[in-house]
Amino acid sequence: MSVKAIAHEARASWAFIIRNFNLTKRYWKWEVVFFAYTMANSVTMGFIGKGVESFSGAVVNVNYLILYMLLGSILWGYLSILFEIVAETVAWERWEETIEYTFMAPVKRATHLLRVCGYAILYGILRAGIILLFVSLFFDLDLSGANLVSAAGILAIGSFSFIGLGMVAAVLPLISPEKGVQVVHIFQALLLIFSGVYYEVTVLPEWMQQVAKISPATYALKGMRESILEGKAFSKLWNQIWPFVLLGAILLSSGLFFFNKMKFWAKKTRSG
């Protein structure tokens, strides 16, 4: 790739990031509404954690339990925003009918999708951090032993796999502008059910545990919990990192391949 071509792709990348930032800015009131919704979900999970002691009668480490539930809720919120931005970017372009212009532009599809995902990761991590901070203050949680940098690192590394899945999810609005985005949420819920969102994977039936092994969310949850609850450093999380790298490589390339195939199909059948 020549220097000129690299500069071309870099400018295109930046254009996608700025475009998404401008869209978020323009719809800031709706962003606040959805942020409040995610916050309400996280607080609810916190109260479930707090209530366990009263209805079970058992003595539990409430701080630990709330944080455990909260991390599941944070990942749920993070994946929601990630998949939503990626899927809605295509859906948005369908509503505005700008998708033909974007597809006609001399920019690689990988650049297009990866930058949209890149923006979603940055925005998602920022949002997750604010939620963690807010809920911790709300429940007066002790985060002194938590390794927040390590948790953010896990989320960032894991995002490569999530991007791959996000690209597959982005195909759905391409196929169906009416229902595609909603189906993305079902896809996300299924992923998290298998990954131990509010529980350990070991409580799942055996066949579900096998599926959990190939879900990147399993490693994201485990890594985040070890960082926040046990204060583990990023370098000590190798058991979660290597599956991420492997799954990231597979899911990213197959996600891109699948998106291109479906884009071709949508063009051919005039769905796109």
Binding site: R11, T98, M104, A105
Partner: protein, 200 residues
């Protein structure tokens, strides 16, 4: 198939750099401003922000847009104004080939005249080959150097507007370009419309 010597499959990226388009409905991110939309379009065509801003400044004057409005969301613009921004967006990439798909359909007479003048000026100033599709025969005669009339999926006649008018003038006295269309398609407008509805 090749476009200006480039294979449309093998050299797809190069071909994309040579082409831009304006469609019947100007499509934008309507919540974003004209500048934000134009900068995005420039960016995905690999144009730097500095160069894009200079081009926007230049094109905005050419297309007759009010600079003060450039930072307002496009959803507040009239259709004619949106079409002008669309034309500015398309010419910003200095394409070798410009595809115009019924660019003045649905515009009021003043906006239509403005857009036609703009297309004419841009075509000459930027040395761009413009491929215009239209049902407006007056527009075809006014803007095109070479016209192909397509009927039932086939080109039935082609030539300069003057030549086509001359050919038909042997049968029709002082023909308009609509008369030229009637002559070569062999049907009246009403019949043509009826057939179109029937086959849709």
């Amino acid at each position: 198939m090749k476009v200006l010597g480039y294979d449309i499959v093998k050299d797809v990226s190069l071909v994309k750099r040579l082409i831009n388009r304006v469609s019947v409905e100007a499509s934008f991110f309507r919540k974003l401003s004209a500048t934000e939309n134009l900068l995005f379009a420039a960016g995905i065509h690999g144009i730097s922000r500095k160069e894009a801003l200079a081009k926007i400044h230049d094109l905005v004057e050419k297309v007759g847009l009010d600079k003060k409005q450039l930072n307002d969301p496009l959803e507040g613009f009239s259709r004619g104004m949106q079409q002008k921004v669309d034309i500015a967006r398309a010419f910003m990439t200095t394409p070798k080939i410009m595809l115009l798909d019924e660019p003045t359909t649905g515009l009021d007479p003043r906006a239509k005249r403005d857009v036609q003048r703009l297309i004419h000026e841009m075509k000459n100033k930027m040395n761009t080959t413009v491929l215009l599709t239209t049902h407006d025969m007056g527009e075809a005669e006014k803007l095109c150097d070479h016209v192909s009339i397509i009927h039932q999926g086939r080109i039935v006649v082609e030539g300069t507007p003057r030549d086509l008018n001359l050919k038909v003038s042997e049968k029709v006295r002082n023909p308009t370009f609509e008369d030229v269309f009637m002559e070569y398609t062999g049907v009246s407008f009403d019949e043509a419309e009826f057939r179109e509805v029937e086959t849709a």
